[in-house]
Point group: C3
């Protein structure tokens, strides 16, 4: 329990870093430190907040628990201090991002099931928890949202959330289930990026 | 009662189709099958979800009722299977879209009035139910939202919602009221598109 | 109490005017009177609604109190009637906008503290109340959101909200606290614009 709480805070911090970096990289904007902070904040709490207000699950995490805000602030400070290193290690950071969305997916799915939500909606809410912070981030900075980009991303979350629900129904031990499901998200992400896999296209005939 | 439930599910399916087609048509995006599904999902549930979380009306429809998700999935499958036909019959589909926003408008207004909301806010929430899925869809795919486009659209919903509230106050039978109000939305849409009617412009002097 | 209620309604009206003007100025859109009204509406109620649904604070203001809608409608009518004057007096209107975000900041912070929210989250929710209507407005009309523009804006709200929380802890009289905190927001805004002050930039090295 305690461990998963700290893992979640680390995930929050990483999302804050990814958001702050996205704002700092955006061309044609003013890019001051507030916009970096705010974009990091939205990225970190957007998905979970949307999940909680859709569920009516009050108080939402960052309103209830000040540590979430400290994790965001800490991620923001690290972003500022080590800006040049983040860029250089982007490829390595990708692993952490994948772990982050894996953790968010499983936490979101678990919270939804505990709230009595049906399994299909729980899978979707698990995915929403993981990706919607990034969707709001991209919308705010006028980028094409990540869900419309090339590599398999949200679909990895759908797969992990589905595995979590399935193993729950099979009464697999919670900790193993969490581990397997997070691993599946990370595994799909790594394989997809490494082998440049993407989903089938769907375009309308002109 | 039962009938209006099935009509609503058909409306959900049509919104999912319209969203999936919008994603598939967008140029310069990756356009895979997930982005088509997700855009359809957001289009179908966005307006009603925003209405419900604004009202504090929990659980929201698609979290409570798995059939809503099946309707979306079914609409998505139909979109994929019959992609070329949807494009050819776009003009005919416009009628279904109009019926869809008419139904969403009336349902949204009714739910708001039942929640004890004042008539003006109910009219706005009826319109929000009908159009906001499309607004979120357009924002996600970086299009100009439909409310800023030429033909009368949201205003038709405002008119239908206002009629519904007025007939409610006059104690008109619920079923007739629903029929009249949906018809008004559809009628205004058809006339507006056919005769190319639009609202007066409002631009600032340069 | 009564006074602050009317001040809030005036703030709502001014936000509605600012939103309607933003829609009317946007190039390349259809810019009809509905889009002006709707953009004004979203600008006026967006931040407070997001705060209330994040807090689970139901019913949200404009659903509960019809006067909020009248204030928006009145602001919209004033916008249409005096369009040419608004443009000419833009510089003077800036003062009112600053007072508006000051009032929204303090009200949002106060409501959050009263809901038992921790001080850091209350400061953020105070800022969200003040700026998020504008963020949604800018996202809808496909502009770069104001938080990514040059002058100090959201940071002024953070400062005012922080002062409000600090003076609350020091048991300063509520009315004086409100006055001081609103004044701080307005003061920072005026100084920032007059002396062209902005926050330090944060860009990634290329």
């Amino acid at each position: 329990m305690d461990l998963s709480y700290y893992i979640e805070l680390i995930g929050v911090g990483f999302f804050a870093i990814s958001g702050a970096l996205a704002a700092a990289e955006k061309k044609g904007h003013h890019n001051d430190i507030f916009s970096a902070f705010f974009t990091g904040f939205i990225t970190a709490i957007g998905g979970g907040t949307l999940r909680d207000i859709t569920l009516g699950n009050y108080p939402v995490a960052w309103v209830r628990d000040q540590n979430v805000l400290w994790a965001i602030f800490f991620g923001f400070v690290l972003t500022i201090l080590f800006a040049r290193y983040w860029v250089r290690f982007r490829r390595e950071i990708f692993i952490f991002d994948s772990i982050g969305i894996g953790i968010y997916t499983v936490i979101g799915t678990k919270i939804s099931l505990l709230a009595g939500v049906n399994p299909f909606a729980s899978v979707i809410l698990g995915m929403v928890s993981a990706i919607f912070g990034g969707v709001i981030r991209d919308t705010l900075i006028n980028e094409v949202p990540l869900i419309f980009r090339k590599e398999i991303y949200a679909t990895a979350c759908l797969a992990g959330a589905t595995l979590y629900v399935a193993l729950q129904y099979m009464n697999i031990d919670e900790n193993w289930n969490t581990g397997f499901s997070v691993f599946l998200v990370v595994f799909i992400r790594i394989v997809a990026v490494r082998y440049n896999l993407s989903l089938p296209k769907f375009r309308l005939p002109e």
